[in-house]
């Protein structure tokens, strides 16, 4: 190999140090937020003068926070279901299909990943205002599904590419109809990809804030929007507590994904 890690010599130390620095830069703010959520200072002083759980008590005592969290979970779940369903069908077309414009379609479906979110947010805001979908759950779910689609298509299409079509053909010769063969053989065989797609598209919606700000109404707010709104009105450690919960669920989902992938692969 051109760059063999074992043969880097002193560069190895430099590389480790640099990697550690980048990791710290990315992780420290999250660690700070979590620490502050347990700190007793109302002014988010660091290091905290003492430790307490009262911000979490406040958080759970406030129905508007609970409602925001439930709204987020509801929208993310629907987004995941929709994105996986559409992503699955799209992946079959992109991987198996032989038609003109297939590569263009692939690019089109993946654009939400590279397009600046704010551009998409403004566009869909204006569009949904006309349709009367602004501030509705449907509007939220549709907008988030567009954003989540690339995260659903990439793992499913990758899994499908790695799946030998002869296996599906074998199921058909065995007497399964083409649909039966897909449902009973192909889908279970690419379940790691489908599962990853579900988690990723759930998360894409769960922690999405830009589009959500445009979509939200006073009565329909997701957790990130509620955090954002609270930050602007008053700086309270309850926000740190809410953020910590957001991070905790994301982390938990990522760990579950990693564990399941390992289990399914062996």
């Amino acid at each position: 190999m051109l760059l063999d890690y074992d043969r880097l010599g002193w560069l190895k130390v430099a590389l480790l140090a640099f990697t550690a620095l980048v990791a710290a830069f990315l992780l420290l703010p999250v660690v700070f937020i979590v620490l502050l959520s347990f700190g007793s200072s109302r002014w988010l002083a660091f290091p905290p003068p003492g430790w307490t759980l009262k911000w979490y008590q406040e958080l759970f005592a406030d129905p508007s926070w609970i409602e925001a969290a439930l709204t987020s979970a509801r929208i993310a779940t629907m987004t995941a279901i929709l994105a996986v369903t559409i992503g699955l069908l799209a992946s079959f077309a992109l991987v198996r299909g032989r038609f003109r414009g297939r590569e263009i379609l692939r690019g089109l479906l993946l654009t939400p990943m590279v397009l600046p979110v704010v551009v998409f947010a403004i566009a869909i805001y204006a569009f949904f205002l006309k349709l009367g979908l602004g501030g509705t759950t449907v509007g939220f779910v549709v907008a988030h599904t567009v954003l989540a689609l690339p995260f659903a298509i990439i793992p499913i299409a990758t899994a499908l590419e790695g799946f030998d079509k002869s296996i599906e053909d074998a199921a058909i010769v065995c007497g399964a109809s083409p649909l039966q063969a897909k449902l009973r053989i192909t889908l279970p065989s690419i379940r790691i990809g489908i599962f990853s797609a579900a988690i990723f598209s759930f998360l894409a919606s769960w922690d999405e804030v830009v589009v959500a700000i445009f979509m939200a109404s006073p009565t329909l707010q997701t957790l990130p929007v509620k955090i954002w709104g609270s930050l602007r009105s008053d700086l309270t450690p309850v926000i740190a507590a809410a953020s910590s919960l957001l991070v905790a669920l994301t982390l938990a989902l990522m760990i579950v994904t990693a564990l399941l992938r390992r289990k399914l692969q062996t």
Binding site: I167, A170, A171, V173, C174, G175, A176, S177, Q180, P188
Partner: protein, 358 residues
């Protein structure tokens, strides 16, 4: 005339301007082991896939017991198939793989159980029933695929180069297994391979494909001992082709002149040749003798190399016209030093030599 079991009528498959299969017509009796042999791109797999229903033929018909299969979708043809690649369902155990075709046919549980046990014992993998395919070797996977393809007692079993991914020793082992299973079940097998040895070992008959057409169909012996064309002679077994001029043919026996001027008569004539026509004389390497015997023709050669190949020796010799030929006498025929002398005659029976157009 009795109706053939499986009948392929003028099957043609074109991909745009390229015609992969040209009007192939073939009758296959029940219980036969027929091999489609040929180089890659010769149309053998395309023909098989048309029978399986994965390729719609451009024209022609495939009939099973008189009924056309073409309007029947793949999953309703009730045909068994083993693929070139490993196609076990990765998330199902060996037993569930074999049970799959019975489950989609909604057979009762007791029957499924009994049939799975019967099939796994047929391929001798009873103790692997609960394993996942990933825990099996390539050879075991293909045996399970065979069990799965036979579980529903299909009238025809299609096999598309099922052993090509396996190493030589394993291949021979599973060939023996396939022969035994063919004998025990009596199923009609259509087998595709590009390996002529495999075709010779396994088949009742071989259809040799070339450029989308059947070049010759017959038993392995027919193709080896009585090749219809130089392509067949060159594809099945090893062969030497010597440039020769045709002089005359009387009663199916030709007289020719070799490049060194030697006259040979009593050659098997394949077709008709004009006097003076340029031809090629085909002689199998093992048809050459090192000792003179009555009625044998003689060829003066220079020995280039002698190698020991176990049961046979392989001698590379050069004719006086400068053409290299391959000679394979049995090893016991004589000791190595006897053949090492550089110039000597070799002998062949004209009746075991064939004349083809140049």
């Amino acid at each position: 005339m009795t109706q053939p079991f499986l009948s392929i009528r003028k099957l043609r498959k074109a991909f745009g301007a390229f015609t992969a299969v040209h009007d192939v017509t073939l009758d296959i009796p029940k219980g036969e082991f027929l091999t489609f042999l040929g180089p890659s791109g010769s149309g053998k797999s395309t023909t098989l896939y048309a029978i399986a229903g994965f390729q719609d033929p451009t024209s022609g018909d495939v009939r099973l017991q008189g009924k056309s299969l073409l309007s029947v979708p793949s999953h309703k043809r009730n045909i068994g198939m083993v693929f070139q690649r490993y196609t076990l369902f990765p998330h199902l155990s060996v037993a569930e793989n074999v049970a799959f075709p019975l489950r989609v046919r909604r057979r009762p549980d007791t029957e499924v159980k009994r049939k799975v046990a019967e099939m796994l014992s047929l391929v001798r993998l009873e103790s692997f029933a609960e394993r996942l395919p990933a825990a099996l070797s390539g050879g075991q996977q293909q045996r399970v695929a065979l069990a799965r393809a036979l579980a529903y007692d299909p009238p025809i079993l299609l096999m598309d180069e099922p052993l090509s991914a396996l190493d030589k020793k394993l291949r021979e082992e599973i060939q023996a297994e396939i022969r035994r299973i063919h004998r025990e079940t009596g199923v009609t097998i259509l087998y595709v391979t590009h390996d002529q040895e495999e075709a010779l070992h396994l088949s009742d008959r071989i259809a040799l494909f070339r450029d989308g057409r059947i070049e010759q169909i017959g038993t392995g012996e027919d193709l080896y001992l009585r090749p219809a064309t130089d392509f067949v002679a060159g594809f099945i077994g090893n062969s030497n082709f010597l440039a020769a001029e045709h002089l005359e043919t009387v009663g199916g026996a030709s007289t020719i002149r070799l490049a060194d001027g030697a006259l040979v008569s009593g050659i098997n004539a394949n077709g008709s040749f004009a006097p003076g026509q340029k031809t090629r004389l085909m002689i199998r390497p093992e048809a050459f003798r090192l000792e003179r015997s009555p009625n044998n023709a003689e060829l003066a050669v220079e020995i280039v190399d002698v190698a020991f190949y176990g049961e046979r020796r392989r001698i590379v010799a050069r004719t006086s016209a400068g053409q290299e030929i391959d000679i394979r006498p049995t090893s016991s025929a004589l000791a190595a030093q006897d053949v090492a002398s550089s110039r000597r005659p070799v002998f062949f029976d004209p009746g075991a030599a064939f004349l083809f157009p140049a």
